[in-house]
Structures are given as structure tokens and as C-alpha cells.
């Protein structure tokens, strides 16, 4: 039974439960609503929740467990001999699933009867042809063990889904019975519903946290794997980044310092551009600009935030780089070798960050109460004195937050770096030299035909982890600053 049907059935039970629960509660006091503990709709909602939530959770759990069990059982059916030398069990299992899907579509298209799909077949070519006719994908020739496994796979999934649907409906009915039995005037339905809402909110929060945790864990395992193959001291303190390409042998230097330096340098240039411009723009927009100017200028500025970073990358590569080269290159001051440089990427990234800083700061400055400005004007302060001494200090925690957010963006930015800063990992003070960042290197280490077990590929996870720790530290620092400031002035 498709999941959609199951869902609709449970929904119908919930709806019926709602109506019954509601009317039972009302009937229990002879229709006098004032004698009920909660509003009538709460009794209905209570039943609906008890129908829906357990059945839903059960279905989710079943759907998570079933593929694991089925895969394990079917995988055991395939003898070692059936796996070709250049293949693996995983690939064969993928084929099994494909054929199972192919049988499904063949049955659906009328290419074979359900019985035919279920019973063992000897004419494998015929089966292959029938599946292909139905639009199924068959990559290699179907072998007997694989077809058997596929049929078993179908059968197990079929019974599994059937049992799941039956149990889910039973659970829904049980929930309905439980909820309806409770529906009496003195049952505290309102509090129960309240508790469920809280559980829902907690669930949402935990999903967010668990996902983060999952991401970190997946990074950690690969990072540990990397450090098993490559000494941590060399990674953290190495000043040379020179990965040899995997497969070709040779040892790699995988020192993170040049990458961190590149990340840091480009971010600093970007922030040096974005923070003053963004902040001053925000001050102008919120304190000086007339309503009309503001209503035009603010959206225009925010358009900048909507431009995809790859477009900024092109802008860096095709416009800013050559422009800088003209001024600082051989024909000018002679500091710059090529268009790709820290300066190029930093400037363009700074432009990208302006709307982040300005838009957030503008909102924060606007949130400073007018009474504070009045107080300052009332003492004979000018507008700029008021802004500098009253408005900005009051808005500072938020502005620091905005700047750190921009810094996180700068550190995580990839496209602009790839196109604007070059690919050379280098420890240099000259901002007109090409450098690269952690993120850009993560991409280049994982793309291409890298072997995922080699240190050259695994280093990407170590780099990701390093970046994660750095941004985390940045955020914690931001929180700390904001808190400290708040305590002082609230």
C-alpha cells in the first residue's frame, strides 16, 4: 500500500476521532460548555494528536529499520562467487535494487504478471527484455543469484510495507480509542494539547542540534582517519602545501598554515572593505536619509546580497583583476604578477559582504529607541554626536554580531577565491600575490578522481574540521562579547 494511502487513512481516523472526541466531551456535560475544563476543540485535538503522532512515529521508525534489515538479509543470499572481481558487494546490491525496481515497473506496465515476477525464472534473457521494455534500467546481464535476490528483495519489501501499514492503522485506532475514552468534561485536554505543542517545538530544536552533531561526527571520523595516515604536527604546523596527486605515489606536504593564512588575509581585506562601507551606509540610511531615499536605496543595496557568488567570482576574474593589474602590475607599480591575487578576491568579497553588514546594522540602529536620541538632542548634542556617543554604543552588540556574521561568510566563501585569488598556497605578506584558502582547497582535494582512502583526499575533512572549529570559536567569541556588553547596559 503506498505511503500516501496510509497517510490519508490515518488522517481520516484522526478527523473522525476529532469529531467524536469533541462531541463526547460536550455530551458528558449535557452541552453546557462552561462546565468543561477546556474548550471543546481541545478535546478533539487531543484525540487527533493521539491518533496521528504514535502512528507517524511508528511509520518513520519502521521505514528507517526496514531497508537495513532487508538489505542485510538479501545481501547474505548472494554467494561470494556471484561477485565479479572488479565489482563489490555494494555494486551487486545496487544492481539487485535496480532489478527489483525494474520488476515493479514491468508489472505495472503489464509486461509480466505479478506471479511471473514472483516466481523463479530460468529464461534470464526474457526477463531482461521484459524489464527493458517497461523502461527499467539493466546495466549488466542478469544472473540467477541476482534475480533471486531481487525477487526476495521485492517480496520482503512487499510484506514489510503490508505489515507496517496494518500496524500503523492499528496504532492509530488504538490512539483514537485512548483519546476518545479520555474525552470527559473534567479531562485537562488544553494542558495535554499544550504539552504536545511543546514536544513538537522541542523536536524541531533537537533535529537542528542533532543535524549539526551528525555533521560534526561525520567530519570527526574522517579527520581521525586522516591523522592516522598523516602526522597531526605536520598538518597544523607545516608551512608548505604541496599535495602529490594520488595514484601517482610520492609523498605530499599537507601543511595547513599557508591555507589558513590565505583565508585570514583575504577575509581581512574583505572586512576592511565591507565593515566601514557597510556601517557608514547603514548610518546614512537609518539616521540621515529621508524616507524616500531609504525606500529606494535599501532594496538596491540588498540586491547585492542576491547576486550568486559565482557571478562575483567572474567579476573578480574579468573586471577587478585586470583593473588592479593595470595599476599595480608591470606597467604600473610592478607589485602584481597576475590578475588573481589576495587583493582581487578580498575587494570583491568585501563588496559582496557590504549588504550583510549594512542591512543588519541598519535594522539594529533603527531598533535603538527614539527616546535615547531625544535625550541626547535635548542636551544640545548634534546629530553626529548623538550617533557616535549614544546610538552606536547602544547598537554595538548587534553591530559586532553583524560583523562576525560577515566574517563567517568571508571565511566560508569559495567561488570568489577560486576565480579571484588563484590556486597557489603561499605564505606571503604581499596582498598582490596569488594565494588560496581552506575552502578552495577542500574543493580541489575532493574533486577529480581522488581515492577516498588517501591522505590527499582525507585532508579535506581535516581542513573542514579546522574551519569548523575556527568559525565556532568566532561565534562563541561574538556571543561572549555581546553578552558581556548586554550585562553592562541592561
Amino acid at each position: 500500500m503506498p505511503i500516501l494511502w496510509l497517510f490519508l487513512i490515518v488522517l481520516a481516523i484522526a478527523a473522525a476521532g476529532y469529531v467524536i472526541g469533541r462531541s463526547r466531551a460536550v455530551a458528558s456535560v449535557g452541552g453546557d460548555h462552561r462546565k468543561m475544563h477546556s474548550l471543546a476543540s481541545f478535546y478533539g485535538s487531543n484525540v487527533a494528536i493521539k491518533v496521528f503522532v504514535p502512528a507517524f512515529l511508528f511509520t518513520i521508525a519502521w521505514l528507517l529499520v526496514q531497508p537495513i534489515v532487508v538489505n542485510a538479509t538479501v545481501s547474505d543470499m548472494i554467494p561470494e562467487a556471484a561477485i565479479a572481481d572488479n565489482s563489490s558487494r555494494g555494486l551487486v546490491m545496487a544492481e539487485v535494487r535496480r532489478i527489483a525496481d525494474g520488476l515493479d515497473s514491468a508489472v505495472a506496465a503489464g509486461g509480466m504478471s505479478a506471479d511471473f515476477a514472483r516466481t523463479p525464472q530460468t529464461d534470464l534473457d526474457d526477463v531482461t527484455q521484459r524489464i527493458k521494455d517497461a523502461g527499467g534500467v539493466v546495466t549488466s546481464d542478469i544472473t540467477a543469484p541476482v534475480l533471486n535476490a531481487a525477487q526476495r528483495y521485492r517480496a520482503m519489501n512487499g510484506t514489510g510495507n503490508f505489515i507496517m501499514s496494518g500496524l500503523a492503522i492499528l496504532i492509530a485506532l488504538g490512539g483514537a480509542w485512548w483519546g476518545i475514552r479520555e474525552s470527559h468534561a473534567d479531562f485537562r485536554a488544553r494542558n495535554t494539547v499544550e504539552t504536545s505543542i511543546r514536544a513538537l517545538l522541542i523536536g524541531a530544536a533537537s533535529i537542528a542540534i542533532l543535524t549539526t552533531l551528525g555533521i560534526v561526527l561525520s567530519l570527526i571520523f574522517n579527520t581521525i582517519e586522516f591523522f592516522r595516515l598523516y602526522p597531526a604536527a605536520d598538518f597544523f604546523f607545516g608551512t608548505n602545501w604541496a599535495p602529490s596527486f594520488s595514484g601517482r605515489g610520492g609523498s605530499s606536504d599537507l601543511g595547513v598554515l599557508p591555507l589558513l593564512w590565505g583565508t585570514f588575509y583575504i577575509s581581512i581585506v574583505a572586512l576592511a572593505v565591507a565593515v566601514p562601507i557597510g556601517l557608514f551606509a547603514a548610518i546614512y540610511l537609518s539616521e540621515y536619509a529621508s524616507k524616500r531615499v531609504r525606500s529606494v536605496a535599501k532594496p538596491l543595496l540588498e540586491v547585492l546580497a542576491g547576486i550568486p557568488t559565482i557571478v562575483y567570482g567572474l567579476f573578480a576574474l574579468l573586471t577587478v583583476g585586470p583593473l588592479l593589474l593595470e595599476i599595480f602590475g608591470k606597467d604600473g607599480l610592478g607589485w602584481m604578477q597576475a590578475g588573481t591575487a589576495v587583493m582581487t578576491a578580498g575587494l570583491v568579497m568585501g563588496i559582496m559582504l557590504i549588504p550583510f553588514v549594512s542591512s543588519l546594522s541598519d535594522d539594529i540602529i533603527n531598533a535603538v529607541p527614539q527616546a535615547l536620541r531625544d535625550g541626547s538632542y535635548g542636551l544640545g548634542a548634534t546629530q553626529s554626536e548623538t550617533i557616535k556617543q549614544v546610538v552606536l554604543p547602544a547598537a554595538l552588540p548587534g553591530i559586532v554580531g553583524a560583523i562576525l556574521l560577515a566574517a563567517s561568510r568571508a571565511i566560508g566563501e569559495t567561488m570568489i577565491v577560486v576565480l579571484g585569488a588563484g590556486a597557489a598556497a603561499r605564505l606571503s605578506l604581499n596582498p598582490f600575490e596569488a594565494m588560496t584558502t581552506v575552502t578552495a582547497k577542500i574543493v580541489s582535494q575532493l574533486t577529480g578522481d581522488a581515492d577516498f582512502a588517501s591522505p590527499e583526499a582525507l585532508v579535506a575533512f581535516a581542513l573542514g574540521m579546522t574551519l569548523f572549529v575556527i568559525t565556532l570559536a568566532l561565534n562563541v567569541l561574538a556571543l561572549y562579547i555581546v553578552r558581556k556588553y548586554r550585562e553592562q547596559y541592561e
Binding site: 535625550g375 541626547s376 535635548g378 542636551l379 548634542a381
Partner: protein
């Protein structure tokens, strides 16, 4: 008591006119909030503005130091002169004007700074103190005058926003007197204060009267009678009656004034 105040007022300087307002109109967009108000505010005198809520007391008060300039929809018409100078004339800098005409707002609005910095704000901006010692002196004197010194002298570095509502209001009074204005506009300065602090602020007002002109908006008839020598009664944007406080409270000429002070309209 009312009689005492009236007697005290009599002196040579006391009759000088500080503010002369003529045919003042104030509009908030289409809302005509102040209608044809003409009034002469005397120097070295406490003037009380009374009247029911929403009658325009704050609005009129704010037009005396051009605080209404900060409200985009607000328009002030008419002639307001401070010491004979039209305050709305183009050559008058509102910033200079507000340094001379200080203001305490209806709602306490301390800056998110330390208590010390709150009070030192005006003196610093206007360069009133030469050196730290002098500034310390101004801060202490102002806090004492606002009857809050004893409560905050040990925590001048603490945030002004961390004080109680009544303490915040007195801090704002200290902040306003620290700039040594010639006129002090006080919009319900005692509405958040207990009787003791109120008495202290009233004492301060009386002291300020020796050298400045004070205008106080109040909803308390007793307070108006206690501290002021002149009283102006506003009603629906009109200045209904203006005169000696004693006269207004003992024999009001207008029936609306009488109804208000006896508690029949409000």
C-alpha cells in the same frame, strides 16, 4: 503655602520675560495639537502646565526647545522668542538652543552608559569642564541637586539603565542640570517618584528658580500649587487660562479651569 510662593516671586528680576510665545500652532500631520497659544514665560519663575491628558502640554513644551524638529510629521507655526530672539529663525542653531533650554522627558531615558557618563555627557559635549577634577565636581553637584547622589555615589561606573525607574528619572534630571541650562523644561518629572524623592526634586526646582526659569508639566494639582508661581491650563490644544498660581487655584476665571482643578473634567 500657595500664598508664600506668590509672595516670594515678587522681585525686580522676576518679571523679566524669558519666553514670549505668540499665536503658536503645532500640527502633527493633520492633527492640530496646539491652537493659537500665546504666553509669556517669566525668568526666575516656575511655571506649571496643567491640563487633561492629550491636551498638548508636552507638545507645547517641546516646541520651546525645538524638539519637535525631530518628529518629521510635526509642524510648528507662530512666533516663539527666547530673550527676544525668534528661536525658529534660520540663524538659530537648534543645538545651541537646546543647550540653553534643557529638558527632562516624560519617560526616563538614560543612555546605555555608566551613571557618571550619563551626567558627564552634556558637559563633555559643550566643553564645560577643564580637566577630570572639574568634571567630577560637576557630576557630583548635579547628582546631589537631583537628590540621587547618596544612592549612586558608590557605583558611578554602573549602567544608568540598571537603576530603578524613579532613580533613572532623577539621573535624567541630573543630566539636564549638569549642562547649566537657562531654562529647564520638565515633563512630568515626578510621575515615577516616591513622595520623598518628589519632595527633593521640588526642592531642587525651587533652588533652580533662583537663577533659571523652570517649566514643569504636572498632573498633580498639589504639586503645581506647591512649586509654581505661574500656572497655565491647557485644554484640547488651547491655552485656556494663564496667570498666578494662586489666582488659578483660588478663583479661576474659566469654568473649564474650575472643573479641571476641582476634578470634574480630566
Amino acid at each position: 503655602m500657595m500664598k508664600d510662593n506668590a509672595d516670594e516671586r515678587i522681585g525686580v528680576d522676576a518679571m523679566d520675560i524669558k519666553f514670549a510665545a505668540k499665536d503658536v500652532q503645532v500640527y502633527y500631520a493633520d492633527n492640530h495639537a496646539i491652537k493659537d497659544v500665546s504666553v509669556d514665560i517669566l525668568d526666575k519663575t516656575v511655571t506649571a502646565f496643567i491640563g487633561p491628558s492629550g491636551c498638548g502640554k508636552s507638545t507645547f513644551l517641546r516646541s520651546l526647545n525645538r524638539m519637535n524638529d525631530t518628529i518629521p510629521i510635526c509642524r510648528v507655526e507662530g512666533d516663539i522668542r527666547l530673550d527676544g530672539q525668534d528661536i525658529n529663525a534660520p540663524e538659530v542653531d537648534p543645538v545651541q538652543l537646546r543647550a540653553k533650554v534643557g529638558m527632562v522627558f516624560q519617560k526616563p531615558n538614560p543612555f546605555p552608559k555608566s551613571i557618571y557618563d550619563n551626567v558627564a555627557y552634556g558637559p563633555r559635549i559643550h566643553g564645560l569642564a577643564r580637566g577630570k577634577a572639574e568634571l567630577d565636581e560637576i557630576v557630583e553637584k548635579s547628582l546631589r541637586r537631583a537628590a540621587i547622589w547618596d544612592e549612586v555615589k558608590d557605583r558611578l561606573d554602573a549602567a544608568g539603565t540598571g537603576l530603578s525607574g524613579g532613580q533613572q528619572q532623577r539621573l535624567c534630571i541630573a543630566r539636564a542640570v549638569a549642562t547649566e541650562p537657562e531654562v529647564l523644561l520638565m515633563d512630568e518629572p515626578c510621575s515615577a517618584l516616591d513622595p520623598i524623592a518628589t519632595a527633593q526634586v521640588e526642592e531642587l526646582i525651587d533652588e533652580l528658580r533662583q537663577s533659571y526659569s523652570v517649566i514643569i508639566v504636572t498632573h498633580s494639582m498639589q504639586q503645581a500649587a506647591r512649586v509654581s508661581q505661574k500656572t497655565a491650563f491647557f485644554h484640547l490644544g488651547n491655552l485656556v487660562e494663564y496667570g498666578d498660581t494662586t489666582d488659578i487655584f483660588t478663583n479661576p476665571r474659566d469654568t473649564r479651569t474650575e472643573s479641571y482643578i476641582t476634578g470634574r473634567i480630566g
